[in-house]
Symmetry: C2
C-alpha cells in the first residue's frame, strides 16, 4: 500500500492555513480584517462558490479534474520516463511561462538542491535536468557547453506551437540533432502540446515524434498537473502519483461550498478584502529553499489570472495584485525592513515547514563570546523556525497583514496539495473580482509587436504602427 | 595598457538611461511625468545635490570613495585569490543579505552560466563557487554533500559578527574543519569583517585567521565594492580592477550637481515623483540572464534604504517602494499581463544589453508553416531585442511608466558602473525622501525576537513579551 492510500498519514500531511494575523482580533481594527466585513460579503461568496461548482460541472474548469482522471496518462509517463533514464544524460525542457515555472518549482522542492552536480548514481540513475525558459543567446550557448546533445532528451512544450521563444529553440536543436544523428533526431524530442490544433502537433505528427497532450480546457498556468509538469518530474525520479494524490486530497478539502470551512476560498476572500482596502502587493515568502520557486510559479498564476483591465461586464477595472517573491530567512536581511516600516500596501504569505527532511546541529563553541555561543547546542532547524516566528511577530507588531501556509513536510504529497490550493484560491479570487481568470489578452500587444519587428507575414500593419511610434527625445537619454 | 585606461573604450561602454517613457510627452499627461513637475522640485533637488556633496566631503558616505581608494586592498585580494585558486576546489561564502547578494549578482553577470558544472580547467583553474545565504538545514546538508571541506575555502562575512545565520554556519564548519584538519582549520577560513569591533574580528585575531576589512562607514548593502564582493569575484577569475574602474567612471558621470545632466540623480528624481503619485512598486526587468540577480541586489538596496517609518524630522512617513524582480523575456509569459492591464501602480526598469557576448542563429526550417518558419534566418539576439522593444511598446501603449538602462555589453566595467549607478540613485532618492538611507531599524524587532526565542542571555524581557503575545484562535486556522 502506498502511504498516500492511508487516511491517517494523509491527515498528518495536511497543509494548514493560519490566517490569524489577517484578522482585526489580532492586528487591530485599522489594518486587520473584521469578521463583519467577511459577513457582509456573504451573498457574493455564495455566488462565487456556486459559480465554481457550476463551471466545474459544465466542464469549464478542466484543471480541477486533473488529480482524478489521468491514470492512463500517468502510466504512459512512467514508461516513457523509465526509458529516458536508461538512455539519456540530460533532460531539457524547452518551454516558457506555464511550461517552465511548474517543472522548476517541483524539481527544486523535491530533488537535491544541487541535483545537477551529483553523479548519475547519486541521482538514482536520473538524467541532469534543465529548463531553457529564455532566449538569451548567452544562456543558450552556456547550456550547449555543458550538455551533449547526443545524450540529451528535449521536451518541447507549447500548447499552441506559436510561442516564438520555444519554437526558435526547437529549430536550433532540430538542426543540431539532425546534423549529428540524422534520422535518429526524432528519438531525442518529445512534444507536449494540444492534441489537435497548432503548429507543434502538426510538426509532431509529420515527424512521428513521441507526444503528450495538454487538455484543451487547461491553460498554461494551470497545467503543472498535466504532462507539462508530470513528465519532467517523473524523469527526475519524483513520485507523480503521490503528487496527484496530494492534489486530490486538497480538492476534497476545498470541496465544501462553505467559505468558512474551505481553506482556499477563505484565503481568496481575505486577499480580496485586502485588495479592496488598497493592498496591491502579495508577497510569498517560503521559509525553505526547497519552496523558493513555488513563489515564482505562484507569481505567474496570481499575476496573469487576476491582472485584468476589464471585468466580465466589460467595465474597466484594472484589477490585480502584484506578486513578490521572497525567501526566509534570507530576505529578512533584504526586504523585512520595508515590510515592517514601509507603506501598508501588502499581504505577506509565509510558507512554513513543520519538519525539515534533515536536522543540522550547531556545535558548541566560542564560549568566551556569549553573543555567539548561545547558538551552540541548537539546530539550524530551531534557528530557522525561531526566525520565522520572530518575523511573523515583528509584522504583527507593525500591524502588517500576514498569513502562514504550513506544510508538515516537503514531499510530493504536500507539494501536490500546495499547487492545487493556490490554483483554487486564484480561481475563487477571480470569481470575487468578477473577471476572466483564465485568459491573458494583455500579452497580445507585445507578442504581435515582436512578430511585426521580426517580419512575420501578416503583421505588416502592426509593423507600420510601430514605425510610426513617437520618436524618442535625446534630452531624455543620459 | 588596460582597456579601461582608454577613454574612447570607456565612452563606448557607457551605460545610458533612457527615460522617455517616464515623461508626459510620450505617455500622456495623466500618467507621465511633466517637465513642470520636475521644475517645481528645483529647490529640493538643489538641496539634495548639495547634501550629497557635503556628506561625501565630510566622510559620511565612505562607499562613494571605494572606486578610488583601494589599491593596496586590491593587491592583497589578488594575491590571496591566486593562492586560493592553487589549493582549493570550492570557495564558499558564509554570509547573508549585503554579504551575499552582491557576490551572487556579479558571479552570474560575469561568469559562465553553469560555472559550477564546468571542469576546473574550463573555469580557468578557479574553484567552484557557492554562497550559503540561508540556514535551511536541507540546503546546508545538500551543500556539504557536494563539497569536500578539506578542499574548500570558507569566506565568512559579517561586519558585526552578530549575525546569527552566519555565525551558526561558522560554528558548523569550524567544528568540521577542526575535526578533519586539526590546526590546519585556520587555513580554510577567511574573515571579512570590521577592523576593530564585533565578535568576528575577536575570533579572527584570537585564531590568527586571514582577514579582510569592511570600512567602518560602509553598510552591508553598499559593500559590494569592498572585499565583501571583490574577494569572491577575484577568486572566480573576475577582473576586479576593471569593475572598480567602471564604478569610478560612473562616479564621474554622476559628479555634476545638475540633476538634468546627472543620470543617477535624474533617475532618482523620476522615481521620487512616481512614488508621490502612488507608484509604490518598482520592477527591475533585465533582458539578460546574466543580469538576473542584479535585480535581487537592487531589491535589497532599494527596499532597505528607502523603506522607513520616520523621516529625518522624526515624522511618521512609512516611506518606500517595493522592488520586484522580473526577467525578460521569461516574465513576459508571467508578469506582463499584469503590468499592462493591472493597476497603475508601478515603474518598470528594463536592463538592456547592446551586444550579447555571443550570437546564436536560428536555422531555417518548417517551411510549410509560415507562423514558425519566419523565425528562421534570424538570431536569438534579434529575437530577444525585438521582444524587449515590443514589451516596451506595449507598456507605452498601456501608459505604464518605464525606463531603460542599457549596458553596451555585460563586462566587469559595465557591471561596476551599474552597481555604482544604483547606489547613487538610491542615496539621492533617500535625500529627496528626507529619510536616513543608511540604517535599518525595522529589522531589530525580528532579530531580537529570534534571539529571545533561542534563549540568548539578556533577552529575557523580550522572551516574556513574546510569551505574552495574543493566543492564536483555532477558528482562524483551516
Amino acid at each position: 500500500m502506498k502511504r498516500y492510500e492511508n487516511q491517517q498519514w494523509k491527515e498528518s500531511m495536511r497543509i494548514t492555513l493560519d490566517f490569524n494575523n489577517m484578522m482585526a482580533d489580532m492586528l487591530g481594527e485599522d489594518q486587520g480584517i473584521s469578521k463583519e466585513s467577511i459577513a457582509s460579503l456573504d451573498e457574493q461568496l455564495k455566488t462565487a462558490a456556486q459559480a465554481m461548482k457550476t463551471k466545474r460541472e459544465e466542464g469549464k474548469m478542466d484543471w480541477r479534474d486533473l488529480p482524478w482522471n489521468q491514470n492512463e496518462i500517468v502510466e504512459d509517463i512512467l514508461n516513457t520516463a523509465s526509458k529516458i533514464k536508461q538512455k539519456f544524460d540530460a533532460f531539457v525542457v524547452l518551454g516558457i511561462g506555464g511550461s517552465a515555472l511548474g517543472p522548476i518549482a517541483v524539481q527544486q522542492a523535491l530533488n537535491h538542491m544541487h541535483y545537477n552536480e551529483l553523479s548519475k548514481a547519486q541521482r538514482g540513475g536520473c538524467p541532469r535536468f534543465y529548463v531553457a525558459d529564455n532566449v538569451d543567446p548567452e544562456r543558450m550557448k552556456a547550456l550547449f557547453e555543458i550538455i551533449d546533445v547526443e545524450k540529451t532528451m528535449f521536451n518541447v512544450v507549447t500548447k499552441s506551437g506559436s510561442t516564438s521563444e520555444t519554437m526558435s529553440q526547437l529549430m536550433i536543436i532540430w538542426d543540431m540533432l539532425k546534423d549529428k544523428l540524422g534520422e535518429g533526431y526524432r528519438d531525442h524530442i518529445i512534444a507536449t502540446t494540444d492534441r489537435e490544433n497548432g503548429n507543434l502537433i502538426k510538426i509532431a505528427k509529420e515527424h512521428n515524434l513521441k507526444t503528450f497532450y495538454i487538455p484543451r480546457g487547461v491553460g498554461g498556468r494551470f497545467s503543472e498537473l498535466t504532462p507539462v509538469g508530470l513528465l519532467p518530474a517523473s524523469v527526475c525520479g519524483i513520485d507523480i502519483e503521490e503528487m496527484l494524490a496530494g492534489a486530490a486530497y486538497m480538492d476534497e478539502l476545498c470541496s465544501t461550498q462553505d467559505v468558512h470551512k474551505n481553506p482556499a476560498y477563505m484565503a481568496a476572500t481575505l486577499q480580496f478584502l485586502a485588495m479592496k482596502s488598497g493592498k496591491n502587493i502579495s508577497v510569498m515568502m517560503p521559509y525553505a529553499d526547497s519552496l523558493k520557486y513555488m513563489a515564482d510559479w505562484y507569481a505567474q498564476l496570481w499575476a496573469e489570472s487576476l491582472g485584468k483591465r476589464y471585468n466580465l461586464k466589460g467595465e474597466e477595472v484594472f484589477a490585480g495584485q502584484t506578486p513578490v517573491k521572497a525567501l526566509g530567512v534570507t530576505d529578512q536581511h533584504s526586504q523585512v525592513q520595508l515590510y515592517t516600516e514601509g507603506p501598508f500596501d501588502k499581504v505577506i504569505t509565509f510558507l512554513g515547514v513543520g519538519k525539515y527532511r534533515t536536522t543540522m546541529e550547531i556545535p558548541r563553541g566560542f564560549e568566551g563570546i556569549p553573543a555567539v555561543s548561545f547558538l551552540g547546542g541548537h539546530t539550524l532547524n530551531e534557528l530557522i523556525h525561531a526566525e520565522q516566528a520572530a518575523t511573523e511577530y515583528a509584522l504583527l507588531k507593525a500591524k502588517r497583514l500576514n498569513r502562514t501556509l504550513t506544510l508538515p513536510e516537503v514531499n510530493a504529497f504536500t507539494v501536490g496539495q500546495l499547487l492545487y490550493f493556490m490554483e483554487v484560491e486564484t480561481a475563487f479570487a477571480g470569481e470575487l473580482l468578477e473577471i476572466n481568470t483564465f485568459d491573458q489578452p494583455g500579452v497580445e500587444e507585445g507578442k504581435n509587436a515582436a512578430y511585426a519587428l521580426l517580419g512575420r507575414p501578416g503583421y505588416e500593419e502592426k509593423k507600420a504602427e510601430l514605425d510610426a511610434r513617437p520618436q524618442k527625445k535625446e534630452e531624455y537619454i543620459l
